[in-house]
């Protein structure tokens, strides 16, 4: 099966989970091509080659610096026509999801959305995904051409870099389409702020910080800083105004999948678990030994987070030599 993998870029930078989509394709086939759309993307194109794409379609243009659904769709359709790929993969980011949906609906092809696993069976893609917010798993196959899947970030190993890689690079003209979207302003995350969905470690705070929310989240940020972690939160902490919504993990926030999730002063409501229940290792810091979070945690400390979190920061600093 021949794959075309979408490598997402944003103002010239690659969206790292794209390499996981490339890795997934390479684990299923030798015949893997990639498409990179963006502006000032030579580094990304080079990396796509190093990571094993056999051919890389490149659309480099000022109008492509930011994702644009109309333009990306048209560029991908052009590349699919040239490549003749049977399958199209993207990471299930906001943009990857929207692109896959637009491609699928316009070609009458189904999408295996937010897949946790992907295999080939009888020459067709078969995905495993969660429904009912991860409480049920299902197998999914799709009709239509191309076969389309989007992959849950951090569920697949990224394609490795090889030193001797080489590939055809095909420079394509940007598709000649008008976009109805006009971007008036861009606000970026602060430098160094780690994306929750891409983070390998997350330290989260909940209502348990209530007695001094500002200090509580300062302590959590400090621990996160030492561990190189992203900062998360429960809805209760967000609704109380302790921290902004973009940090919310759970049912109506972000679904995350880190190697390590440290929940501080979070009870472990099902809606919170819906967002972080598939973390590899869960640590709970909670003063209530009966808190439900302990029933999903691998490790825990029963105690006041205002004492325990700074002690963890200190211990981590010492042991990690920071």
């Amino acid at each position: 099966m021949k794959f075309l993998v979408y490598i997402e870029t944003d103002m010239g930078d690659v969206v790292a989970s794209s390499w996981e989509a490339l890795g997934a394709a390479l684990s299923l086939s030798d015949d893997v091509e990639a498409i990179v759309i963006g502006d000032k993307i030579s580094v990304v194109v080079e990396e796509a080659v190093e990571r094993g794409a056999k051919k890389v379609y490149v659309v480099e243009d000022e109008t492509r610096a930011l994702f644009d659904l109309e333009r990306s769709l048209a560029d991908v359709q052009n590349a699919l026509e040239m490549s003749g790929a049977d399958a199209f993969l993207a990471s299930h980011t906001s943009n990857g999801r929207d692109l896959a949906a637009a491609l699928g609906v316009s070609s009458g092809a189904g999408v295996i959305a937010d897949a946790l696993e992907l295999t080939l069976e009888d020459g067709a893609l078969k995905g495993v995904r969660g429904v009912y917010s991860g409480n049920i798993l299902v197998d999914v196959t799709v009709d239509g051409s191309p076969q389309i899947a989007t992959l849950r970030p951090r569920a697949f190993a990224p394609a490795e870099k090889a030193s001797e890689a080489s590939a055809d690079v095909v420079l394509m003209d940007p598709a000649d389409v008008d976009s109805p979207y006009e971007v008036l302003e861009i606000q970026r995350a602060e430098k160094g702020e780690i994306s929750l969905t891409e983070a390998s470690i997350i330290v989260s705070g909940g209502r348990g910080v209530s007695k001094d929310p500002e200090l509580g989240f300062d302590l959590i940020r400090e621990l996160a800083g030492v561990l190189g972690a992203a900062v998360g939160a429960s809805r209760a902490a967000v609704d109380a105004g302790f921290i902004s919504y973009d940090h919310q993990v759970g049912q109506t926030g972000k679904v995350v999948r880190p190697d390590l999730y440290i929940a501080c002063g979070i009870s472990g409501a099902v809606q919170h678990l819906a967002g972080m229940g598939s973390s590899k290792i869960i640590v709970a810091i909670n003063k209530d030994p009966e808190a439900p979070i302990f029933s999903v945690a691998n490790y825990g400390i029963v105690g006041d987070l205002f004492d325990v979190v700074p002690a963890m920061t200190e211990a981590a600093r010492e042991k990690l030599g920071k």
């Binding site: 906001s94 999801r97 929207d98 896959a100 949906a101 637009a102 699928g104 609906v105 999408v111 295996i112 969660g130 429904v131 009912y132 917010s133 409480n135 049920i136 798993l137 299902v138 197998d139 999914v140 196959t141 799709v142 009709d143 979207y181 971007v183 008036l184 302003e185 861009i186 606000q187 970026r188 702020e193 994306s195 390998s200 561990l227 609704d239 919504y245 973009d246 109506t252 926030g253 390590l260 099902v270 229940g277 598939s278 590899k280 029933s295 999903v296 945690a297 691998n298 490790y299 825990g300 400390i301 029963v302 105690g303 325990v308 700074p310 002690a311 963890m312 200190e314 211990a315 042991k319």
Partner: protein, 256 residues
């Protein structure tokens, strides 16, 4: 102006863990059904548009007779009208989008269609874009704030990954919203009483003159995810001792 909110009736999130694979496969759920939480934010967004820019906000859903309850919740929150598109044959996301698109056209001159970002049961988040494509309208996903609406354009703030974009596009438009659009308001007593008495119009695919496409997504082998190997190891002693032991354990696990 006319605003139409597309909603879905989904399980109460507190009861999601109780759903068995058999129930999920048959679609006959024994749990309590409510308005999909993301769609409650879409209703809120629709009501704010009505308040800020005039016009009326309606709600529409695709489902069976029971889904009228979700529409009544939307009416109780303040929507002016509601429509059930009754459909019980198996359809996938593209089928839902086809029916919703037909309902939007049937409604007349809709300026803004609002949806939630995703559902808590299907989880794909692909319907909003599919709906926009079926209508041939622009789609803005991840909408956190409506900045301005004019006769022929809309300006919104979108959250895409870690970036916040202010984007303008033409109307009519499809928006999928996130929680930041606003906390869903509580239904008022009067609206609850009124909503209970409304006769909700029911339309079928035939009434709308469409035939939803046969599913192109095939789902099988419903099962519970493997249980977490969850035996918690607790560290005791002073905070300092416990924290040191915990960090050691995490180093041992190779997650630090």
């Amino acid at each position: 102006m006319r605003y139409l909110v597309c909603i879905k009736q989904t399980p109460d999130t507190a009861e999601l863990p109780k759903i068995s694979p058999e129930e999920a496969e048959s679609g006959k759920l024994s749990v309590n059904l409510v308005v999909n939480p993301w769609d409650e934010h879409a209703i809120e967004g629709g009501l704010q548009l009505m308040e800020n820019y005039g016009g009326t906000t309606g709600a529409v859903t695709v489902g069976d007779d029971g889904a009228v309850d979700a529409l009544r919740s939307a009416l109780a929150m303040g929507c002016k009208d509601a429509t059930l598109v009754k459909h019980t044959d198996e359809i996938d996301a593209w089928g839902v989008a086809e029916l919703l698109a037909a309902a939007v056209k049937h409604d007349g001159d809709v300026d803004v269609v609002l949806t939630g970002q995703m559902t808590v049961d299907g989880n794909s988040g692909t319907v909003p874009v599919a709906l926009g494509r079926k209508l041939g309208w622009p789609v803005l996903t991840g909408v956190a704030k409506i900045v301005d609406l004019t006769e022929d354009s809309i300006t919104v703030e979108r959250v895409v990954g870690q970036t916040r974009l202010t984007v303008r596009t033409s109307t009519p438009v499809v928006l999928s919203v996130i929680k930041e659009i606003g906390e869903p308001r509580y239904p008022t007593f009067i609206n609850i009483r009124k909503a209970a008495r409304v006769k909700v119009p029911v339309l079928t695919a035939e009434d709308l003159g469409v035939e939803p496409p046969a599913p192109v997504v095939h789902v099988s082998n419903y099962r519970k995810p493997p249980a977490r190997d969850a035996k918690v190891t607790l560290f005791e002693g002073t905070p300092k001792e416990a924290a040191a032991a915990l960090i050691d354990a995490l180093l041992e696990e190779k997650v630090l």
